[in-house]
Subunit: 150 residues, 4 copies
């Protein structure tokens, strides 16, 4: 497979994105997701369900998960949901509401679903819950599509 | 120093927050910040300047920093800027616009400043730049103050 | 009915909010909603469905509804959904994604639903659609509860 | 001057935008802004300062300005700041934090400034204050540029 750079002329360059890259391939090269132990539970067109176990280094103070990592899980879910089509998508922006604390040892599940898409942009809603537990955060993000070179 | 729990009756419990905790003490107990190599460059009432070096595991694809970690740096800067007073603050929500890609090896600097505060809530604006380089992200967050037990 | 001021010690004073005010009473005193012809289609605890017809003065350029008025409808729906309980709620913040244009003569429907609530804060999601048509905007807002004096 | 439609292939159609339209011309055709009595105080490339007097119908409850109209003023300021160049810009999304109440009779001033721009997108920060008074709201929005037909 030929790898060429997918340059985002305006936003984040997302690195080398080969044509016809599957989300599984993206995940295999995604060191950040691996470092966090993020696992893919389910993929479908415009959808992704991921999970992440909160370990000790993810906490601030005693045993509460840093909000940035809840965001990271949600952002990763959006990325995987938005990169299943022909275009490589990068995040333009995102917002998050924090609703409940998450403690060390708990497992988070993020469900991302495309709520709108056009030729160039996409909008995704992501809900993060504690597995078999309460809603932890609501996230909404906008993506911008880049052509993939082949 | 007596440590007692600061319970957020409604949002994230931020763990054991002792009375009169300094931000330096918070940082010493903040495993997430340590894991990311986040350093405190400057602290002032309502302000915090932090830095973070982007290392290999922070990247997705080849060498581009995951947006979640830019958010994490900004969120940490807000936390340190908002926890310098009498109340322990937790984040209610935040939004971020991503403007430029960040590559492995680059150093990020986040400057958080309180833009508004009341008896119970605070609002913080955080700008993230590449050191001696362009603006990477704009972040704005709202915090809610919890009483610190002593 | 005795009317006393519900003072928001930190955010927006929402004027004179009598104890046990119904949303219908709020609407009767809500000159802004009346000016826009905003109608209540349905009310339930934590929910409100409102409609608004786009008339000529709501447009910018030729016949496209100003984004601020789509926000206004969504914000009003959140207000009505959040003011059905014991506390008077004011908006702390909100975000909106614009997805499709709205033209003069079209009718907008906003559906607000509480997605989280605590002793002091609430979070609401609002979807705005063209009646029998596509999604126009997604909105999420956070509210802060004030005691109602009686 | 030939008027042709500027079609937003993905978001809001902003109506008939002639080539080389000045912001003053946009304002002249902007019925929403006129209805609100929004005045242009200052224009510069990437900047706009607007004012709006809060009149009775803009209030909810007794004499407090509806948050939607504070958003409308900020959104209009972004539109005028972003439409001074070659491209017609439409809003992709926006967020707002409400900080202080505004009463009937007060004059609001919104200052919009471009914080980032690329070939296709722009990011604007808008601060709304009461004239000679406190900060009322902070707003940040993202725009998408459309080609103007001539």
């Amino acid at each position: 497979m030929k790898i060429t750079p997918a340059v985002n002329d305006q936003n984040r360059i997302i690195g080398q994105v080969p044509a016809n890259t599957t989300v599984e391939e993206l995940h295999a090269r995604d060191k950040a997701a691996q470092h966090f132990g993020i696992r893919i539970l389910k993929l479908a067109p415009g959808e992704a369900t991921l999970s992440m176990q909160v370990v000790e280094w993810m906490t601030q103070g005693h045993n509460i998960c840093h909000g940035g990592f809840i965001f990271t899980l949600a952002d990763t879910a959006m990325a995987y949901a938005s990169n299943s089509g022909d275009l490589a998508h990068v995040a333009l922006n995102a917002n998050i509401d924090f609703l409940n604390p998450v403690r060390e040892g708990q497992e988070l599940v993020a469900l991302a679903a495309e709520a709108n898409s056009t030729k160039k942009t996409g909008m995704y809603k992501v809900s993060v819950t504690i597995k078999n537990g309460p809603l932890v955060a609501e996230f909404r993000g906008r993506t911008y599509g880049l052509s993939r070179k082949s």
